[in-house]
Symmetry: C2
Amino acid sequence: VKFELTILGSAAATPAYGRFPSSQVLNIQDQWFMIDCGEGTQMRLTDFHIPRNRINFLFVSHLHGDHIFGLVGMLTSMSLVGRTQAFTIYAPEGLAEILEVTLRISQSHLTFPLHVHVIDTTEHKAIFENEILTVYTIPLKHSVPTCGFLFKEKPLLPNFIKEKISEYNIPVAQIPLIKFGADFVNEDGTIIPHSELTIPAPPPRSFAYCSDTMYFPEIVPHIEDVDILYHEATFTTEQLENAAFGMHSTATQAAQIALAAKVKMLVIGHISARYPDAEATLAEAQKTFKTTFSGLDGTTFSVPYRR
Amino acid sequence: VKFELTILGSAAATPAYGRFPSSQVLNIQDQWFMIDCGEGTQMRLTDFHIPRNRINFLFVSHLHGDHIFGLVGMLTSMSLVGRTQAFTIYAPEGLAEILEVTLRISQSHLTFPLHVHVIDTTEHKAIFENEILTVYTIPLKHSVPTCGFLFKEKPLLPNFIKEKISEYNIPVAQIPLIKFGADFVNEDGTIIPHSELTIPAPPPRSFAYCSDTMYFPEIVPHIEDVDILYHEATFTTEQLENAAFGMHSTATQAAQIALAAKVKMLVIGHISARYPDAEATLAEAQKTFKTTFSGLDGTTFSVPYRR
């Protein structure tokens, strides 16, 4: 059962060295979610064999161009292949106006319903919920209203131990109740406790996306223990002044956040065009937080169930 | 002295098979001009080593997304490297509104003056002129207001034959006048005709861009004898109905236009996503017009001076 993050673009601000602007997709139990949609995202979906038409939700962290300029092109391309499934966007105030004006003037007609929900980037709250997960906003600190997103699987039901059916003569109709927590009472009135009939479910998995932001330890309580933390690391410490000026983070700062939040894995990205590759930021982050990885374009990170 | 067309994107409507949406650059005598600016154009400039900051003019044929969705990203990237040189756009009515809304809401601040001139797509007239060339609109027939562009070098001055200086004792100060057409009168009153002192200049070179359009023979008088005709060929004849429905051309129709206009070279592109490569459209066009080439992403076509 999948929980897989794929990086579509790892560049900050402007594409460079083959890195495209920010976009990521998350596959949770075969449901696809997109986060941010920089220019060229639709090409990246093709490059990395992501099933474009199975993506129904987009979460937008903020409205800087390198996080949204691929959106209208992706939507119009979806229309060209006759998409009918609704597409739903959660984004800070303003995106709908860009979409409305651009679609109208370019005379692009969408073949599917488009829903745009305005999110409040200053609150930590649940903004989306379905049968498998809840998505929460994470207020970040950047030069425009910005929030991250926490994707958290819902608790799974425990696994019923099949061998117990014959052992206690349990009617099949009872199994769902037992999985939901009921004990089993057999014919002679003996109570077989729920805990003897099931194996606890693996803990739910989680992913936190934190970009763009300066070093902002207030996010730590919201991202504690996540399986994957994606945190921007636009610069190395050598560029501390540039990081502060642009309200971005250094690799060390990203790693400090990961350490404080005791996350299981840190993925860094949003790499400045001044770096030809990801070596400098990765080496720096790993000094503070060992299980750091570079989230370069096309990289996939999987989270297995942990027992 | 260069006259070079480079194709940045050869896809119709939606990127496919590594083909990006429409954009081209023209290098005339080391001045760079861009035509259309589909999504990903800024990446293509990097891919094909085009000096982005030497492009000062963009000509937009029409406002369909696959011809303009790379523009805001390219402009903001130019700002990120501190461009100060003005950027001037010629486009049909409406583009300025998309730019204004998108730049404002994404809080993108350009570091250079941006000028947007509205063009009338229904007239054939000169819209741009400088010391080396004139650019004319070419009305096309598409589902939204659309025009092509004719880029025509200005006539060059004839070459002065250096050996004539000593032969007739010509003062150096006279040479510019002779190049401009004056005869030379020597000390004893003999008239040395201009034609004896100069070699005629090579004929000016020209490029016509015709996309998007259905088969529209009315354009022929505007593009006669051009060195390179770029004409869209979205489909093969097999897809004649689709071509008519989308107001696009087939490869045969593009070739018929080239033949009627007696152009020296036809470049076809704007290839539908239904074709994995350019073989079908190219083979079809070459049956009608032999000197046809596929304008795939990254291809460059040069026009030498012809004597």
